[in-house]
């Protein structure tokens, strides 16, 4: 494999810049909900099953028919954590594997809004919200998802 680093790995070397930008965003978006406990796990279990299917299909190099890196077990496990951390009142995303081995969670609506969040095995979240072209990178290490992200997902509820 010519390139074994995930695309955004370089960011880990620039945490100060990230911290500064995320603080700016946190001032703009404040999550207003109480986080609710999920009592019905049906939807969540379906999403986790789908994640397992993706992992099975994408665990070898070149799974996309080109030169894709495999989706690692660590990324798969982190993705389960991500789904389980989603508050119950927010919609489940579509999950799309990416050619650098990351997993994208996507929310789309009929008005053309798209929120795409790429998750790396170390918890790095690369976020793009269209059509506003808002993009950022978040480092996710706590059990709860970042408020900035929850506020964006709320737009699709």
């Amino acid at each position: 494999m010519l390139f074994s680093r995930s695309i955004s790995d370089d960011l880990l070397e620039n945490r100060e810049h990230l911290q500064q930008r995320n603080e700016q965003l946190a001032g703009t978006f404040r999550f207003s909900h109480l986080v609710t406990i999920r009592t019905d796990r049906t939807v969540l279990n379906e999403a986790i099953d789908e994640l397992g299917n993706i992992r099975d299909e994408c665990d070898q190099p070149g799974w996309d028919g080109h030169e894709a890196l495999p989706v690692s077990y660590a990324t798969y496990r982190k993705a389960i954590d991500f789904l389980e951390a989603l508050p119950a009142e927010l919609p489940m995303p579509e999950i799309v594997p990416e050619n650098d081995g990351e997993l994208a969670f996507e929310w789309r609506d009929e008005r053309g809004q798209v929120l795409s969040v790429s998750l790396a095995s170390n918890g790095r979240l690369t976020v793009l919200y269209m059509p506003d072209r808002m993009r950022t990178t978040l480092l996710w290490s706590k059990p709860e998802l970042p408020n900035t992200l929850l506020k964006l997902i709320e737009l699709f509820a």
Partner: protein
């Protein structure tokens, strides 16, 4: 100067290129009409080829219709044991109008389509979509790539998505 395939070495603005898709995971479909399909942005994410960030496409000047594009996709798939699923079409000028953008929306660099055929004729009609660099120091490339690939998805939706047709039975006469 013509390439080994006989195509001109410059990809014209009006030329269509096909991004062949080999996984259903990168094909979206309309919730109300499943026959409406498109290639998701993930089909247009570049990969590092040792020199540049690129993704491969096939030029279609020699391909007269959707069936010919399918045959081309299936043939490429068979060479490496991949299962062809469909092809997204992009016009070269659409690619060239797509830019890597700064955080403020300014254009850093436009993408391009460049012919990329091996001199020995082993990769006829092959081209690369390029231009995924340069970026500001410390930037997360993935942010920029995602945005550009989302723009390419939107452009490809303006063209027909060529869906894999079931192979025809040989009728032998």
């Amino acid at each position: 100067m013509p390439l080994p395939s006989g195509l001109p070495d410059q990809v014209g603005d009006e030329e269509s290129v096909a991004r062949h898709v080999f996984t259903d995971r990168h094909i979206g479909s309309d919730a109300k009409d499943r026959s409406k399909k498109w290639a998701k942005a993930q089909a247009f994410l570049p990969q590092f080829d040792g020199h540049n960030w690129v993704f491969s496409v096939s030029r279609t000047l020699h391909l007269k219709d959707a069936e010919a594009i399918q045959r081309n996709g299936r043939a490429i798939g068979q060479l490496s044991g991949r299962s062809y699923k469909g092809s997204a079409l992009l016009v070269a000028k659409q690619v060239r109008s797509t830019a890597m953008k700064s955080g403020e929306g300014g254009e850093l660099q436009n993408l391009d389509v460049l012919a990329h055929e091996a001199a020995d004729g082993s990769t006829p009609y092959h081209a690369h979509v390029t231009g995924f660099l340069p970026l500001p120091e410390g930037a997360n490339m993935k942010e920029y790539f995602k945005e550009a690939s989302m723009d390419l998805e939107r452009h490809a939706k303006e063209q027909a998505f060529v869906v894999q047709a079931p192979p025809q039975e040989e009728t032998g006469t």
